[in-house]
C-alpha cells in the first residue's frame, strides 16, 4: 500500500446539482455553460450553478451566501462518509483544508452596491467574519462536524489543488487521521470583469487545446473529498507545488514552474512518468496557458508518452478556487471507473501542441493520473493519484 486513500467525494457545478448529475453530463459530453449573468457588460458564457439551492439552517443564517449553500449541498452527499470518519477517528482527528479564491465576493459586491445607493451596508453584513474565508471555514466546520485543525488556502486558481498537499503532510506527520479537502468559489463580477480586463475571457465556449481556442469562461462550484489514513479508494500518492517566478498573471511561456510541479509530484511519490496514463490539465483555453502546459507535460512525461490529456474547463467553466478540487474529483472518477471524458471543444487539436489530447471519451484501465492547477502569482500544483489497490 502506498499513499493515502481518497474514500469519498462530492461536488456540484454547472453540470449538475449532485455528483451523479455532474458525472453523467461529463461522460455524455454535455457542457454546462450558459449565458453570463445579466449585469455582465460584455458577451461571454459562464459555468453557473442554476436553480435555487437550499438555505443554510436557521442558526447559521448569517452565513447564508451562495458559496456556503454550494458547500452545504456538496457536503450533504458526504454525510455518511463523514459520520463514519467521525466514528472511526474522532472528530478532533479530522482536519479541514479547503481552498477559495474569492469566498463570498458576490455577496460583498451586492453589499457594496447597496452602500453606494443608500449609504448603509445590509444589516448584519460582515466582510470579515461572515462573507469571508473565515465564514467559509465556519460553514465547512459546521456541516462536516470535523473538529481538527482547519485552514483555508487562497492562492487563486490553485487553491483547492494545494489542499491535497496539506492533507498529505498532515497525515504523514500523524497530526490527524483524516482530512476533508475541497474548495468553493462563486461567480462574481470582479472575476468576470477582471479576467476580461486581462483579455483572457472568450465570448464563446472555451476550447482548450484547440487550434481555434479563444479564451476562458468563468464558472462556479464546490467540491470536496475525504482523504483518510486507511480505507479503500483511489490513492493520493504525491503532490508537487512550485512557483513560476515569472509574472503575476501570465504563465512562464517555457512552462518551467508547471513542469516543476509535475516533477515534484512524481518524485514525492517515487513514481515513474511512464506510468502516468491520464492528465486532467489546467487547460484554461487561453493560447498561452495551453501552449506552455502542453510543453511542460511533454517535458515531464517524455515524447513517447501516450497519456490521455483532457481539459474539463469547457464543461464547467473555470471554477477558480474550486477548480483544483473539482478536477481532482474528475481524475479520481477516471481512476475508479476507467472512463476518461472527452476534452470538450478540443477538436481540431492545435497541431503545435506536443501531447495526446483525448478528443473522444475513452475506457481504459489507468495506473496513475495527474491533476494540474496553475494560478495568478505563478502558483502551481500538480496532484498525483493512483488507481484503487
Amino acid at each position: 500500500m502506498s499513499g493515502h486513500p481518497v474514500t469519498a467525494w462530492a461536488m456540484l457545478n454547472a453540470l449538475g446539482a449532485t455528483t451523479g448529475e455532474v458525472l453523467e453530463a461529463l461522460h455524455a459530453g454535455r457542457s454546462g455553460l450558459s449565458p453570463a449573468p445579466a449585469d455582465t457588460p460584455f458577451e461571454t458564457v459562464c459555468g453557473a450553478v442554476l436553480g435555487e439551492l437550499p438555505a443554510l439552517p436557521e442558526g447559521l443564517a448569517e452565513l447564508d451566501f451562495k458559496n456556503n449553500r454550494m458547500i452545504y449541498a456538496a457536503l450533504h452527499e458526504m454525510e455518511g462518509a463523514l459520520a463514519a470518519a467521525r466514528e472511526r477517528w474522532g472528530a478532533r482527528r479530522i482536519g479541514i483544508a479547503v481552498g477559495s479564491s474569492t469566498a463570498a465576493m458576490d455577496a460583498t459586491e451586492a453589499a457594496f452596491g447597496r452602500w453606494r445607493r443608500s449609504g448603509a451596508l445590509p444589516a448584519g453584513f460582515d466582510i470579515l467574519r461572515r462573507a469571508s474565508p473565515e465564514g467559509m471555514l465556519r460553514a465547512v466546520r459546521a456541516r462536516s462536524g470535523a473538529e481538527g485543525p482547519a485552514i483555508l488556502i487562497s492562492t487563486a486558481c490553485s487553491s483547492s489543488g494545494k489542499v491535497f498537499g496539506t492533507a498529505r503532510r498532515w497525515l504523514d506527520a500523524d497530526l490527524v487521521d483524516a482530512v476533508l479537502v475541497g474548495g468553493a468559489d462563486t461567480l462574481c463580477q470582479t472575476t468576470l470583469r477582471g479576467f476580461r480586463a486581462l483579455s483572457l475571457v472568450g465570448s464563446e465556449a472555451a476550447r482548450p487545446f484547440c487550434a481555434e481556442r479563444g479564451g476562458i469562461n468563468i464558472g462556479e462550484g464546490a467540491a470536496f473529498a475525504l482523504v483518510e489514513r486507511s480505507g479503500s479508494g483511489p490513492r493520493l500518492l504525491g503532490v508537487g507545488e512550485s512557483a513560476d517566478a515569472h509574472h503575476m498573471s501570465s504563465p512562464d511561456p517555457e512552462g518551467r514552474g508547471a513542469a516543476l510541479a509535475m516533477q515534484r509530484a512524481l518524485e514525492a511519490a517515487d513514481r515513474s512518468p511512464g506510468d502516468v496514463d491520464h492528465v486532467n490539465a489546467h487547460g484554461t483555453g487561453t493560447r498561452l496557458n495551453d501552449a506552455m502546459e502542453a510543453a511542460a507535460i511533454r517535458q515531464v512525461l517524455g515524447g513517447d508518452s501516450s497519456a490521455a490529456v483532457v481539459s474539463t474547463k469547457a464543461y464547467t467553466g473555470h471554477t477558480l478556487g474550486a477548480a483544483g478540487a473539482t478536477e481532482a474529483i474528475f481524475t479520481l472518477d477516471a481512476l475508479s471507473s476507467g472512463r476518461i471524458p472527452a476534452s470538450l471543444g478540443a477538436d481540431p487539436v492545435d497541431p503545435a501542441l506536443p501531447i495526446e489530447v483525448a478528443v473522444e471519451p475513452r475506457r481504459e484501465r489507468l495506473r496513475l493520473a495527474l491533476s494540474n492547477s496553475f494560478a495568478f502569482g505563478g502558483n502551481n500544483v500538480s496532484v498525483l493519484f493512483g488507481a484503487p489497490e
Partner: protein
C-alpha cells in the same frame, strides 16, 4: 526560530517594536527586494510583507531564492478589492488589469517569488482568529515533511470604508524564519496545541487584525523569554476562552 521580521508604520523592524520606540521616518516599508516596475506595481500589503520576509530571511541566513514560504492574511488585498468594486460602479464599469492581478490573496507571495526567482513551495492561508496558529501548524507540517526551513509571513491592512469595522488603525507585517535545525536558533518552539492559553488581547493600533495574535510570540523570541504564548486573537464574541498556544524557550 532563526529570525523575526516586522514592519508597521513607525516600526521598521522587530527590535524597534519590542523597544516601543516608534520612528517617525519609517512611514513606508523599504522592501528592497522589489525593484523597478515590480516595486511600482506592488501594493502596500505586498511591500510590507516583502520587507518583513527579507528581514527574517537575512537574520536566519536562509537562501531567499530557494526557501519555501507560507504567507497568511485574513483580509487579502482588501484595499485593491474595494477599489475594484468602486471601478465597477463607475462609467462602463471597467476594471484595471493591474488592480485585478494584484487582487488575489497570494499577491505578496507572487511578487516576492518573481523578485527573487524563487520557484520553491509557497502557500497563502486566510482564515479567522486562529490564523497565526494555523500558519505555524502548516509550517510545522512542512518542516516535518523533509523541508529544513521555511519563512512564515503574516500581513494585513485595516479594513477600509465601508467595511471598516475591525477597530484596526495600522497595518502590520510579521515574518518568522523557522528551521528544523537547532544550531543558530534564537528560540525553540514546542507543543503547538489548540487549547492551552487565554486568547491574545487586542491592542492598539491593530485592533481586530487576526494576525496581530502573533506579536506575543515574536516578542518572546526577541526578548529571549521562556513562556507559553497564545496565538489566537480575542474577539469579544462570547467564545474567548482558551485557544491555540505554543511554548517558547530561548536557545
Amino acid at each position: 526560530m532563526h529570525g523575526v521580521g516586522l514592519w508597521s508604520p513607525g516600526f521598521p523592524d522587530a527590535a524597534s517594536w519590542c523597544a516601543g520606540e516608534p520612528k517617525a521616518t519609517a512611514r513606508e516599508p523599504a522592501a528592497a527586494l522589489l525593484e523597478g516596475a515590480l516595486r511600482r506595481r506592488a501594493t502596500l500589503h505586498a511591500r510590507m510583507a516583502a520587507e518583513a520576509f527579507e528581514q527574517a530571511g537575512r537574520q536566519s541566513g536562509a537562501d531567499l531564492e530557494t526557501v519555501p514560504t507560507i504567507w497568511a492574511t485574513a483580509h487579502g488585498e482588501h484595499e485593491t478589492a474595494v477599489a475594484i468594486l468602486a471601478m465597477m460602479g463607475e462609467g462602463e464599469g471597467r476594471v484595471s488589469p493591474t488592480r485585478f492581478h494584484n487582487s488575489v490573496y497570494n499577491t505578496p507571495a507572487g511578487y516576492a517569488s518573481i523578485a527573487l526567482g524563487n520557484r520553491a513551495f509557497s502557500t497563502t492561508l486566510a482564515g479567522g482568529p486562529d490564523l497565526a496558529a494555523m500558519a505555524l501548524f502548516e509550517a510545522g507540517a512542512l518542516l516535518g515533511s523533509g523541508v529544513h526551513e521555511t519563512i512564515v509571513v503574516l500581513a494585513d491592512e485595516p479594513l477600509v470604508v465601508p467595511f471598516d469595522a475591525d477597530g484596526a488603525e495600522a497595518p502590520l507585517a510579521v515574518a518568522l524564519a523557522l528551521s528544523s535545525r537547532a544550531e543558530g536558533a534564537s528560540a525553540r518552539l514546542a507543543d503547538l496545541r489548540p487549547q492551552g492559553a487565554p486568547r491574545v488581547e487586542r491592542r492598539p493600533p491593530f485592533g481586530g487584525l487576526y494576525i496581530s495574535a502573533v506579536l506575543p510570540l515574536a516578542e518572546a523570541c526577541i526578548r529571549g523569554e521562556s513562556t507559553r504564548v497564545g496565538l489566537e486573537l480575542a474577539c469579544g464574541r462570547g467564545e474567548d476562552g482558551r485557544g491555540w498556544c505554543v511554548d517558547v524557550s530561548p536557545r
